[in-house]
Symmetry: C2
Amino acid sequence: IIRLFMNKSTGNLIFTLTPARSIEDIVSSHTGGKIFIITDSNCLDLCVRPLLAETPSLEKARVIVTAPGDENKNLTSLTQIWSELQSGGATRNSLVINIGGGVVTDMGGFAAATFKRGVEMVNVPTTLLSAVDAAVGGKTGINFNGFKNELGSFYPANEVVISTCWFDTLPHEELLSGYAEMLKHGLLEGDEEINMLLDYDVAEANAEKLLPLLQKSVEVKRRVVEEDPYEHGIRKALNLGHTAGHAFESLALNSGRPVPHGYAVAWGLVVDLILSHMQLKFDSMLIHRLASFVKAHYGAPAISCDDYPEIIRLMSHDKKNVTPDRIVFTLLSEPGKVEINRVATESEIKSALDIMRDLLGC
Amino acid sequence: IIRLFMNKSTGNLIFTLTPARSIEDIVSSHTGGKIFIITDSNCLDLCVRPLLAETPSLEKARVIVTAPGDENKNLTSLTQIWSELQSGGATRNSLVINIGGGVVTDMGGFAAATFKRGVEMVNVPTTLLSAVDAAVGGKTGINFNGFKNELGSFYPANEVVISTCWFDTLPHEELLSGYAEMLKHGLLEGDEEINMLLDYDVAEANAEKLLPLLQKSVEVKRRVVEEDPYEHGIRKALNLGHTAGHAFESLALNSGRPVPHGYAVAWGLVVDLILSHMQLKFDSMLIHRLASFVKAHYGAPAISCDDYPEIIRLMSHDKKNVTPDRIVFTLLSEPGKVEINRVATESEIKSALDIMRDLLGC
């Protein structure tokens, strides 16, 4: 068990292969009030029931089960959680434990942030993607009227228990989806980190080998978030790969062939590095290495040049793009050297998409 | 115009007889994005339209009008506000201006706190009660399933523009309701302050005379909130008069004869000072002075000894009462000397209610 130091923006991070023991410690030291577990129906059998069996302090916990999937990360599910907290007698001294992927930690976190103006909360991410991304850093929220994460708040968990022990219950594409965010963190950190990640055999992922890599990755996010918890500046570094990535994700969703978030991010990283090369001379050899890795594991997005106008329109509507007439990217001059708020022209974006299609073969 | 210094927990407080000028300053220095005004249908004609006429920068502001009254401080109205912010194209750089009483600042504040994880917000309280209480200190929220302020967050306004200029549009009982919170602040502050308030002729309130008293009063709240923004300790001082007050308020509501919040607080202050005398030797002369003032302006609650069990049940369910089997009060040993979390027994509470009924004549 490794414990990273407590900070208001990211909480106390615990990396462990045996999460039950860490959760037992947390719950038994919570003397205040009732315990509530928020999870979804997928996670209930795969993760929550085994955890309950191993964790005596959770015996009296009330389990709130929501419908799974991003399409249920909405006001209806949130209202259900609020109602169950209320009917279960939650007070300001209660403890909420979110156990699940990003949908659960985002929505359970928003419920905990707003019930009686905030109760204590622990996140237990059960997917690689949520461990490396959603569970850490204080962003909570739900979708609203078709817009992603439109409502929410900054409300960091008091503790985040991160374990790789559940990842073999995940479909392989879920694991890859999380790994794309790790690639992003590697690029933000430096040469050594991104090379270590590109050398790792993600196809044969095993819990013990992955844990230290995951820890390094989460620490990158933690440092960025601590510097800028409310995303006024440098936290936008974490948007690397996401301006293009969100556009690919929305395009795929709108055409009825949705792709996992991390796949879209992996493709977005290739686009952003090509733009980084155009504007900041980012090393083209590393772009080729990353593109080969992405092509081998994530394939390519189903796009042609006919999709470019729609991709550009979607980019200009990205929430983080505060000036709708200019499209801004997070770019790198080299691994570890970030420049946020870089404007790219439509013609630069089109060229970058051309080169990406060439590299990935789409 | 008097400007109190900026603080994260309470925002920048501006006391002025000419609010339009202060709002003009704020809006014209907000270069970021669109302006949204949140108000209710009562306040629209009485306060917002005149303000718009005097404030050129608000010309393009979009006005969101909710249904008035505490019964509309609910998820339906909040959802309407969220939808109108969304359809109006609010971004993270938008500015929300809440203009109204406590319902508007609480609910508009919660909407601003949660839309895109928080946008900038200005409170413009138009009632004495909201100026002295709801608009300052960061508490936002709505009622839910019949429980008051069950959902919400701590989200202080960036600026609060406080003016007495609208108070003559209010029914006199509204003004008295706010004045009860000022009495509370006076008791929390010291002998001089409570005596000044008991000497002031609230029946002939005038905007210019009231403003400096109001400012002193808000400063008491500001200092308490800055010391303990999340109500872990000393902020409970502000609960003086409220354990009994909330019980009177709920009892009246449940019996179909609702009373204004401040009236219930005024009666609650009498109860709490009697308990303060029993437990901490609070000066009985001052209790008599306060009781005379309360009796003259607020009358007495419509209760008999048959209501005691229900009053005690309601007290034990108060949100701030975290241990439901013991009823805790904020008490004073003398004006300005607070003791929070004082437990009173049922028999002490019954005696205090007897004495209050005797003093107020009910």
